[in-house]
C-alpha cells in the first residue's frame, strides 16, 4: 500500500452511468420519463398488501427474479446499472473492470419465504421454535439461502460478474448510502490507490416487513388511492415518502486517466461533504447545523461558493420533517438567493429508492447538466408557505446548469452532499 498524498484538486470524472428505476431501465427511458413528469409509483402487486397502511410503491416489476428475494432483486438491478455504466465508459475487458467496487445495499436478512420453508419441514415435530428451525436446517441442504443472505453476497456477486479488483465494499448509511458509495470511490482515486472505481447503489426492498417497519415509524405516505400522486415533496399536503426500488452506477476516473485513454467525460464529482448528526435516531437537529455543515463542506471541497450552485437535486423525500429541515438548511447556506435556485425532487416521480437514491440522483444530476433541462417536482399542487423554494413545479424546464448540489440524508444522523459539474474546460 503506497497511497499518494490526497489530491483534492485533481478532478474525479464520470465516464459511465447506469440507472434502473420504477420508470424503466437505462438513462434514455428514465430521462424521457423524468422530464415528462411520469410517475413510477403503482399499487403493489408482488404480494398481498391486505392489512397494510401503505399499499403503493415504486416497484421494479419488469425485472423477473425467481424465487424472489430482496437481495436477489437488488443484485440484478445493480448488475443492469453497472452493465450500462461500464459499457458507456468502454473501460477494461468484459468481466475485467480495472478498479474496486463500492456498493450501497440494504441490510440483508433471511426472508419470510426462507423461514416458512424451514418451518413447514419442522412443523411435523410439534410447535415451531427457533430450536426446531435449527434442527431442521441442520438436516437439510440450505446452502443457497446462506449465500443469498450473507451481507457480502450482492457485492461479491457483482464483483465476480464484472471482475472488479480487490475486496468489494458493501456499505449502508441508510438513505445516504448511495452518496457514501460515491464518496468512497472519489476518495480512493484521490488517494492514488486506483485510477478507476465502480460506485453503485441498489435496493429491492419493497417487501411486507420493510413496508411495515417504515409504516410503524410513520414515515410512509398513505395516499394509496392515487399512487402516481402519492409522492408530494415540498407540498403542504406531503404525508411521507414512497418506498421504491432501483439502482444506479457510476464509473469514476481520475481526469488524467480518462483523458489518457480518450474517454468521453460525462461530468465531474467536484466536491464531497459530510457531517453526522448526534441529535436523534430519526430526526435532524432542530437548528439544522449538521445539514448546513454538510452542504458547506461539499462546497468547500469543490472550491465553490454558494453563488456558484445553479440547481439543487435535494434529498426531498416528501416527509414533513425532511423537507422542512432541508429547506431550512438550504436557506441558511444560500441566504435570500435560495428562492431563485431551482430545487426539484426526483423522488416525486421514482419514489425513494433508499440505498440506491444517492447514486440514482447523481446520475440524474449529471443528465440535468448534460441536457440543460430541469426535471420537475410533480404532484406539487398545494405549496407549503414555510418552504419558499422554486421546486420546478410539475413541468420540466430548460435552464443553464453548471454546478449541482445533490443532498442525501438518512436515519442515524447520516448527511452527505455532493457537488457535480460539467466536463472541465
Amino acid at each position: 500500500m503506497a497511497p499518494a498524498r490526497d489530491r483534492p484538486r485533481n478532478p474525479i470524472v464520470v465516464t459511465g452511468m447506469g440507472i434502473v428505476t420504477s420508470l424503466g431501465i437505462g438513462k434514455t427511458d428514465n430521462w424521457r420519463k423524468l422530464t415528462s413528469g411520469h410517475s413510477g409509483i403503482r399499487r403493489i402487486s408482488r404480494f398481498s398488501t391486505a392489512g397494510l397502511r401503505t399499499t403503493i410503491a415504486g416497484t421494479v416489476d419488469f425485472v423477473p427474479i425467481e424465487p424472489f428475494t430482496s437481495a436477489g432483486l437488488a443484485e440484478q438491478l445493480a448488475a443492469l446499472a453497472a452493465e450500462e455504466a461500464i459499457t458507456e465508459a468502454a473501460i477494461g475487458a468484459i468481466g475485467d473492470f480495472p478498479g474496486p467496487l463500492f456498493i450501497a445495499v440494504a441490510p440483508v436478512e433471511t426472508e419470510w419465504s426462507h423461514r416458512e420453508a424451514v418451518s413447514v419441514e419442522s412443523r411435523s415435530n410439534g410447535d415451531v421454535s427457533y430450536d426446531s428451525l435449527l434442527r431442521e436446517v441442520a438436516k437439510g441442504d440450505y446452502i443457497a439461502i446462506h449465500e443469498r443472505c450473507m451481507f457480502a453476497s450482492v457485492a461479491e456477486n457483482i464483483a465476480v460478474r464484472f471482475g472488479t479488483k480487490g475486496s468489494p465494499v458493501s456499505l449502508s448509511t441508510a438513505c445516504a448510502s448511495g452518496a457514501s458509495a460515491i464518496q468512497l470511490g472519489v476518495e480512493a482515486i484521490r488517494r492514488g490507490e486506483t485510477d478507476v472505481a465502480l460506485c453503485a447503489g441498489a435496493d429491492g426492498s419493497v417487501n411486507a416487513e420493510s413496508l411495515i417497519r417504515f409504516s410503524l415509524l410513520s414515515a410512509l405516505s398513505m395516499s394509496n388511492e392515487f399512487p402516481e400522486a402519492a409522492a408530494k415533496p415540498f407540498s403542504k399536503n406531503r404525508d411521507g415518502f414512497v418506498m421504491a426500488e432501483g439502482a444506479g452506477a457510476l464509473v469514476l476516473e481520475s481526469l488524467e486517466h480518462a483523458k489518457a485513454r480518450g474517454a468521453r467525460i460525462l461530468g465531474v464529482i467536484e466536491g464531497l461533504g459530510e457531517m453526522a448528526d448526534s441529535f436523534h435516531r430519526t430526526r435532524s437537529s432542530p437548528d439544522g447545523k449538521p445539514i448546513i455543515g454538510c452542504i458547506r463542506n461539499a462546497l468547500a471541497d469543490a472550491g465553490l461558493d454558494p453563488i456558484d450552485i445553479d440547481y439543487v437535486n435535494p434529498h426531498g423525500t416528501g416527509t414533513p420533517e425532511n423537507d422542512k429541515m432541508e429547506c431550512l438548511g438550504l436557506t441558511a447556506v444560500f441566504g435570500s438567493r435560495v428562492k431563485s435556485i431551482p430545487v426539484s425532487s426526483n423522488k416525486s416521480m421514482i419514489g425513494h429508492t433508499l440505498s440506491a437514491a444517492g447514486v440514482i440522483e447523481a446520475v440524474v444530476s449529471l443528465l440535468t447538466i448534460q441536457h440543460q433541462r430541469l426535471p420537475p417536482t410533480i404532484n406539487y399542487q398545494i405549496p407549503d408557505p414555510i418552504i419558499a423554494l422554486d421546486v420546478v413545479p410539475n413541468v420540466a424546464r430548460d435552464a443553464k446548469v453548471s454546478h449541482v448540489l445533490s443532498n442525501s440524508f438518512g436515519f442515524g444522523g447520516q448527511n452527505v452532499s455532493l457537488v457535480l459539474g460539467p466536463e472541465p474546460k
Binding site: 503506497a2 457480502a152 449502508s172 484521490r190 410503524l216 457531517m275
Partner: protein, 398 residues
Amino acid sequence: MSDASREIWITGLGIVSCLGEGPQVHWQRLNEPVPTPELQGFAPYIVHRLAPIEFDKQIPKKGDQRQMELWQRIGTYAAGLALESAGAKGSAGLLARMDMIVAAGGGERDEALDVKILSNLPTSDDKQPFINESLMGGLRPTLFLAQLSNLLAGNISIVHGVTGSSRTFMGEETSGIEAVRIASARIAAGQSDIALVGGALNGDRKDTLLLYEFGKRLLKQPFAPVWERKPRGGGLILGSLGAFLVLESREHAQARNAKPMARLACIVSDRCIRQAGDTAKSLARLWQRIENKSVRQTLGIISGATGCEPATSEERDWLRTLGDVPVRATGTYVGHGMEPQFVMNIALATLALQHGQLFAPGDNSGVESVDKRPITQVAVTGVGHWRGEGIALVEAAQ
C-alpha cells in the same frame, strides 16, 4: 507505508467479550487460558456469551439503552471505552472532527413474534395477509432502528458525539477488514486525522445461529479450539463481542500529547472465489505485499481463523510457509465475532506488543505452542468464513 504517507498510531482501544472488558482483563484471561464457551441453552450449538457489563458506565441514559438492542449496546459501550482510552471522551471539538467507520451486520429480530407467526401460519392463500397483520400488530415500532446496520454508528454519534463522518460497512468479516483498511488509508493520505473504527456482534441470538447454520458453518458440541475442529468438519462458534480502535496520524496525536499504543504499519485485503487452495494462495499474495516490512525474528501472528473448513486449513497451510513464527487464534477464547473480529484481533495484537510477547497458546494440534520470545510486530489475519482475506501488520510503538 510509503514515505509519502503518514504514520498511523493506535491511540485508543475498547474491547468487550466473553472474557470481560478492557485490556487488563483480556490479557489476564488470555494467559490463564481457559475457554469459556456457553453450552447451556444453545445445544447442540455453542456461543461465547458476553461477560456481564454495566452498560450505564458508557451509556448513561436509560432512554438511549432502551432504543438499542444488545448488539448496539455492546458496540456503543466498546466505542466509549476506546474514546476514553484515547483521551477523547467528551472532547467536543475533537469528536466533531473525528471520522467513524463501523463494521456491522443486522440487529436482533423479534424471535418470539417470528415463532408465533410461523406456528400459526395458515396453509391456505391467506398466508401473506396473516403475516402482514401479525407484524403490523406485533412489531415494536422502534425495533427497526435497533435492526438497521448503520444505527450502531448512529447511536455512537448520539451517545458519544462522534460526528466528523459516519460510514457503516457490511459484509461479515470483510466489513471489519475494509473498515480498518479504508480508515487508515484516509489517515495516511491526509484525508482524515483521527478515526474511530470497530463494530459489535451479539452472538447470543438464535436468528443469527440460523443464518450461519443455513450454510452448516456452526460447530456443534463438544467445544474444540479453532485449529482442532477439522476432523469434525470444521465450524465456527459465534462470540458476542465489541471492539473499537482510535486510529490517528502521528502528527495529530503528538499535537494533542496522545501516546501510541502501537503503530498500524500496513494493511492489505483481497477476495477470491475459493476453489481448493485459493485461500492459501490469496494469503500468500497478500503477505508478499507486506513481507518486506516484517522482521521475522520478532514477528508473531494473531489469527482470525474461524474454524470453518477449508478456509482454516488453508490458512494453516500458509502459516507453515512462514516457518518458525508463533501463532495464536483468538477464536478459541472470544469466539468468532464476524464483523468486528479483525478489529478485536488488532486490539489484542496491540496488547501483545505492549507486553512484548504473545499470550498463552490454546491448541493441541501443533499450530500454537508455548513461545515467550520477544515480539515487536504482529501480523493479524482475517479470513472470512465464506469470502474475504486480509492481513494487518501492527508494530510496537517503541
